[in-house]
Amino acid sequence: MNAKDNFLKVKHLYNRAGFGISYTDLQKLSKKNLEKVVDNMLKDSQKDDPIKLVNDFESKRQLLVQAGLYAKKDLTDDEKKMRQQIVREQNEVSRDLNIAFINQMINTDAPLREKMTLFWHGHFACRSNNPFFAQQLNNIQRDNALGSFKTLLVEVSKSPAMLQYLNNQQNRKGKPNENFARELMELFTLGRGNYSEQDIKESARSFTGWMYDKDGSFIFRENLHDTGTKTFFGKIGNFEGENIIDIILEKPETSQFIARKVYKFFVNDNPNEDHVKELATHFYNSKYDIASMMKKMFTSDWFYSPENVGTKIKSPAEFLVGLSREFYVTYNKPQVLIQLQSSLGQYLFNPPNVAGWPGGQSWIDSSSLMLRMRIPSLVLNDGEIDFSGKADPEDEAVIALSRVATTNANANTKPKSYVNANADWPKFLGTLPKGLTPLALTEFLLQPKLNDKITGMVSDNKGLRSTAVEITSMPEYQLC
């Protein structure tokens, strides 16, 4: 085993399966056999820290109040105020939840679990105005991130966030709403072309009655469920939602669809179909055991082959989390993380639609690339922000309520603002071995192979701190 070779492999593994690695850990792990490193990583990620920002009890109380106000015809002024107050609070907590997820990724010692959570966050893409629902779905994705895909799928399908987002609340006997059934097959399991319109109709009938009640718990309402006979993929029966999910999972196309998506997320935007097949077969044979598929992937030789190293464009979340994690960044005004996410095109918990973020080259346009190249100096060197993100369309009601904000949002006279973050330089520099050269630091921080230009740029010994800011501002740092 070549030590240098293993150093690069472990670094690659931690960049893809996690959010990077510290130099100290990298040195330590490089001495181990790669399979052991993968096992260790899986073991570390057995730890499961759910996000507990939103309080269950208080949220349920709020839901009941909201339901009461909704049912009433004429509201008093106080009741109207109360309703608005709840919406305002929910918006605020939603932003806090976003920051909690980012912080969790920055600080976690179960990096693979968080990375998989981020993957499922994009796969089961969902928006909810209710932060309690959003947190619950996020925790379902985290709990099951490395477990059984079936359990994950069933729990996501029963979550109020998804039931609401895909209109299953309106899916009733005699008046089916096909939205959930369609996306279940098109985007969550089989993929386009592997089912018929008839299959959608029949499965929508099977999911009638899957709802959540006033306090936000899943409930199967039998009186709204269509108990008639359904024909789904040639099978005939009085199917209910879980039967449909079972039949979908029996089809190997589901394992292929998920394996391809996992491959595109962790390995390469352009999938090698042989590798995908290998992965899918393994996934199917393991009865959809996610951890087993991940281990198979991380221990395959092709995972470490040159075309798969340093060639993927980091998503905005990977970029922001990786940078913050590497340099132990504290955000004194965490709201700036939301501004950065939305300017870079990935505002977590707010995917563009149920298909999630398209990823790959679509992350990059002239303005997002310029911004990415400037963020390291903004964050690490406390630079001035001279841009403003677009308002999220769902925030329009808030904007409309505060006229002042509207005028300001469009005006050119804005107070100067700074990221107001602190990188812990002593801590970062402390993780580096004594006498590390700027060139060696560059090799550590960048995933793509170094070329003469970069070697030349960093060889004039500006000191490690300046070198670090410079390297993280390069286009090469956008890749992992």
Partner: protein, 399 residues
Amino acid sequence: MNRRNFLRNTGFVAAGSLFVPAFMKPLEAMALDELSLYKNLVVVQLSGGNDGLNTVIPFGNDIYYQKRKSIAIKPEEVIKLNDMQGLNPNMAALQEIHDQGWMTIINDVGYPNPDRSHFRSMDIWQTGSDSNQFLSTGWIGRYLDSNCQTCKFPYTAIEVDDSLSLAMKGQTKKGIALKDPAALFRNTNDPFFKAMLQNDREHLDEDNLGYLYKTMIETSSSANYIQNTSKIYQSKSTYPNSGFANQLKTVSKFISSGLKTRVYYVSLSGFDTHVNQIGQQGNLLKQYSEGMAAFLKDLKTNNKLDDTLVITFSEFGRRVEQNASNGTDHGTANNMFVFGGKLKKQGIFNAAPNLSDLDTGDLKYQLDFRQVYGTILDKWLDVNNADILNKKFNTLDFI
């Protein structure tokens, strides 16, 4: 030390000049060729779902007054355009524009199975998709992808904003977002940025890294071109002091200085008026109308109005009946404004919304928004709309 520099405190200095390989010829060196008759499209997005019925008021229809007891605009306040419809009084600035024949209102534009979520409906309008279809490219982006004679430059589409909307993103080509050409120019001429582009041709054939470098080269080239072309131009017109008017002023500067850009994109936000709509919407409509009137007159002065077409849309209209908070909730079909010096049909294009034939309280659409896009693609941007919209849409006769 200038905090705007890419790398504050790193003391990086670039040597030598920008090297660009021959096949990535800098745009400024391209021949300024056949493009003498340059037609521009300006897309204006009103975000939040503008209430079309209180924008173009159907004052001739009693149902409007029955459904909107506390927020209807009184007939005597309406700026009447015909016997049935007229403008919100806050839009007085547009009366002159209308009288000059520079304005068309298209009523009831929408799409089948409308979605009431802001995000989803905006997605649909920006991508030009069906309501159950998810596209990751925008309609203008696909126009750029089509690589037609008139859309080859990276600055073919400019959004006057800090970030780029989905509408402007194609598969292989994307528009450019900039609020201030001078700021972009400063950034791309920063020594560090220039050094990154220096002597770098080995990456260009690599997939993702090559894509990053190509994007940087195009950004740098476009920034130089835009700044150098537009910096000398001084507008003689006065614009109202609002963010929206400032965006239009920038667009006018680009058009009037002869920039070879074909599509501009600007937006105005805050239209989600669930509560106390009158003041908030009035304020926004005033900003919109005054900015637009100044812009159109500026173009006229510079002889560019005949070459410019402006369209305004919002992701949906609002419900016909007002809510209990003196506001309106999310609805469906909406009107669109079209402006330009060469409109075929001026004034009101089609029949006013039928308020007695609703779909569970919402307007039924008369025209698909992709017919409007299709008309512009076919007749103004000279491409086949089926190539961009994935199926052929019948064109309309407003241009």
